[in-house]
């Protein structure tokens, strides 16, 4: 059976086509879907596209920013108001991938990809998906937990609150090939300070579980404390709790568990 490409003018029509056909997959930038098709993934028979401009909209003026699902990493990098997201955007692929790859697609990227999503998870983003009765908002953590069931869902946009300052949000991707290798591990931390103490710590990890996850034990070690060496050391030693990394060509599960604490310590203490 040949692959059918269906193009719709509105996102809601595309969402309808997507939800009614189990073999349909939404094509954003194509860096994941076209690769799967080229490699012989016969589970995809219909490719759904939309020309809806809403999906490529960026609203970065206020304290809460919204990125359309079709916004590419190259466009994030071109946006001065999104400086806090430049590090994760830059860590993805080479220029060709960044020109095509989208925020929405990254939510579905399997290990060792999906780095931008790690940043969004640390920033407690909200994913807006098209539903039967218009759009609905899903916390990103909930979205990721049910990701395997979301393939028939069209993501419209992602929004999050801008961190208070550049110190409050930190991101680091560990790769063997720089700058465009797959992730050995990816770390992002949002640590807002209130009166010298961390309030609302969120630490997110990529490649440490089947999906991007929060390091809750590390968050507990940081919460309510001053970000000093002792606190950071406690977070680093707790960071593997609840993780379930696996072996792949880039690194073994053992190696990932060994180094994640080291890199979290470096990330939080501002070391290179």
């Amino acid at each position: 059976m040949a692959v059918t490409v269906k193009t719709f003018t509105s996102a809601s029509e595309a969402a309808g086509a997507l939800s009614s056909d189990r073999s349909a997959r939404y094509l954003g930038g194509g860096t994941l879907v076209m690769r799967a098709l080229n490699e012989g993934d016969v589970s995809i028979s219909t490719v759904v596209r939309t020309q809806d401009q809403a999906l490529s909209r960026i609203d970065a003026s206020g304290p809460r920013i919204t990125l359309g699902a079709g916004v590419t990493f190259a466009r994030v990098l071109a946006e001065r108001d999104l400086a806090f997201l430049h590090a994760p955007a830059r860590s993805i692929g080479g220029p060709a991938v960044r020109n095509m790859g989208t925020i929405g697609g990254n939510l579905f990227a399997q290990n060792p990809y999906g780095d931008f999503t790690v940043a969004l998870l640390a920033l407690d983003a909200t994913v807006t998906v098209a539903g039967g009765f218009g759009a609905r908002d899903v916390p990103i953590e909930e979205f990721l937990q049910g990701r395997e069931r979301q393939t028939g869902t069209l993501v419209l946009s992602v929004s999050c609150t801008r961190p208070a300052n550049s110190e409050a949000f930190r991101y680091r991707k560990i790769a063997r090939i720089k700058p465009k290798g797959g992730s050995v591990i990816t770390l992002a931390a949002h640590l807002p300070l209130s009166g010298g103490r961390i309030a609302g710590a969120r630490v997110a990890l990529g490649s440490m579980a089947p999906t991007q996850i929060r390091a809750r034990a590390a968050e507990r070690a940081l919460e309510g404390r001053a970000p000093d060496a002792a606190t950071i050391a406690a977070a680093a030693s707790a960071v593997t709790e609840g993780t379930s990394p696996s072996d792949n060509a880039l690194g073994s599960a053992w190696y990932r568990r060994e180094i994640v604490g080291v890199h979290l310590r470096r990330l939080l203490s501002g070391q290179e």
Partner: protein, 531 residues
């Protein structure tokens, strides 16, 4: 001295070469930068079919049954090719030069020996339809114990990977399970050395990662011939390999190569051409067979893994008096070109240094891994990595500068190499001197004045008395000091000398008359040949 008969070959060589030092444009560069270079994949032929292979999901298994009933009914399928459809379904690449035994089927018949080994080829109207049919093929495997480690593979009782070589080692000249180099008495010299350092080195497989994956398009031509557009790096080699596998004269084929979209050794194995041509023979239509990216990365042949043990004896003054090496090439499940890599490796020992006592055992080993192949200096690259790491460690051990240590031990013109050829045009000393100068690395005057053209030969040109292995008990496996170097105290245990210490490499003396060469020469690949 080579003489070129200019009366016959007037245009063969320009005697006025003057290219060095000038920027010269590569002849294919204009096409590459303007996007007009033509690759095999640019050919779109009318009625072209697409071939994809069913690959083994097991590293080592007997094939109980292959069920293609559902796949045959799948839409767009023109032909399913099994191993029994391949006219000569057993080949080894270097059989073209009578080296090695046929050991590899184009399509596996009774068993699979590595994960990803081709079992069936499906020819369909589109790639998609070929993929859909592949998903409908059922292969019933009986898993067999697999071996992935070169040393485990050589142990008695290890699973037999490839029945052509039941001991999991390539057999040279129908007798020898490894390449062996003996020069002087390495064991005696090690016993008399001030320091002995044994280390283990290992290199993993390396994928060539070409931009263009391996592939070929074959189309029936008139007169029963076939046109083949191919990415091959070795066109005539591929022609003959296809002629053998398909059991037809090589003039049946019109191979068109040309631009290779990245090769580096990864496109000599002729993996796609035979099946593409067979598909065209069986369907009468043009057939295209191209590796996907994951196929190229996972199942395209890599540079083989190697494991190397080096045990060196060095004197306090920095002279290496013995070098003993055991190396294991991981050929994967089939020979391809690794047998030749082991030959090159043995010929390279002990590296570009004059060591009076050298002992080398180099094995080409079969494991249940993806077959390895050629890649840029294969056979020498990993050994050089190991030797040069070892040189740094030895320099550190004797407290010498690593550059000076290399100059001291470098081979010089007129020295006898371990494989009994006189060293000529050596120039390692000069390379080290230039490298030191460019890096502003200070070396002492006496080393700055050293020259490859001086102080070689003489007693350094002599072939030392070399005991045969039968005259002594086979050495036991040396202890594996994997990381002892890092923890070694400055005082290293000196083994009590059992034999009188070997004569020190002699002081400079005038080089003797050039050794005479016989009328025949021995080649490890071809055996004894007349020159």
């Amino acid at each position: 001295m080579l003489e070129l008969r200019k009366d016959i070959f007037a245009d063969e060589r320009d005697d006025n070469l003057k290219e060095i030092g000038k920027g010269t444009q590569r002849q294919d560069m204009l096409g590459h930068v303007t996007g007009t270079s033509s690759y095999f994949g640019d050919h779109k032929l009318q009625g072209m079919l697409h071939l994809k292979v069913v690959r083994s999901t097991q590293a080592h298994a007997r094939i109980r049954r292959i069920d293609t009933a559902e796949a045959e009914r799948s839409a767009g399928v023109r032909r399913i090719i099994r191993g029994t459809d391949v006219p000569v379904n057993l080949n080894t690449l270097l059989s073209l030069i009578n080296f090695g035994k046929d050991d590899e089927p184009s399509l596996a018949v009774d068993k699979v020996r590595y994960k990803g080994e081709p079992i069936l080829a499906i020819v369909a109207d589109s790639e998609r339809e070929a993929f859909e049919a592949i998903a409908k093929v059922r292969v019933d495997y009986e898993p067999l114990p697999a071996v992935f480690d070169v040393e485990d593979a050589l142990k008695p009782g290890a699973p037999v990977v490839n029945e052509t070589y039941p001991k999991n080692a390539f057999i040279y000249h129908d007798v020898y399970d490894h390449q062996r180099l003996r020069f002087g008495d390495a064991d005696a010299a090690l016993a008399g050395a001030d320091h002995v350092l044994e280390q283990r080195y290992q290199m993993s497989p390396i994928e060539h990662a070409p931009t263009e994956t391996n592939g070929a398009i074959s189309a029936p031509d008139t007169n029963g011939r076939y046109v083949v557009y191919t990415s091959t790096q070795a066109l005539f080699f591929s022609v003959d390999t296809c002629a053998k596998i398909l059991d037809v004269p090589s003039n049946t084929f019109h191979f068109i190569g040309g631009t290779v979209g990245g090769g580096f050794g990864g496109k000599v194995d002729t993996l796609t051409e035979p099946l593409a041509i067979l598909g065209a023979m069986l369907t009468g239509r043009p057939v295209r067979y191209v590796f996907g990216r994951e196929e190229e990365m996972q199942y395209g042949p890599p540079r083989g893994a190697e494991r190397i043990y080096i045990k060196d004896g060095v004197m306090r003054d920095g002279r290496i008096v013995a070098r003993k090496i055991r190396a294991f090439f991981d050929s994967g499940a089939y020979t391809r070109l690794s047998s030749y890599a082991a030959v090159k490796c043995a010929a390279h020992l002990p590296g570009p240094y004059t060591v009076p006592n050298v002992y080398g055992d180099v094995y080409c080993v079969f494991t249940n891994r993806t077959p390895a192949t050629a890649m840029r200096g294969f056979g020498v690259t990993a050994m050089d990595f190991a030797i040069e790491c070892q040189m740094d460690k030895l320099a550190n051990l004797v407290g010498m500068d690593p550059m000076e240590f290399r100059i001291l031990n470098a081979y010089r013109d007129g020295d006898m190499k371990a494989h009994r050829r006189e060293a000529k045009n050596t120039a390692l000393i000069e390379c080290v001197q230039v490298a030191a100068e460019k890096a502003k690395w200070p070396i002492r005057d006496e080393f700055r004045r050293a020259s490859s053209r001086k102080d070689g030969g003489g007693s350094r040109a002599a072939i030392p008395p070399t005991p045969t292995d039968s005259s002594r008990a086979r050495p036991t496996t040396p202890s594996q000091q994997r990381t002892s170097y890092d923890r070694l105290p400055p005082t290293v245990t000196r083994e009590p000398p059992r034999d009188p210490p070997p004569p020190a490499p002699p002081p400079p003396s005038p080089r003797p008359a050039a050794p005479s060469h016989g009328a025949t020469r021995f080649s490890s690949v071809f055996g004894t040949r007349r020159r």
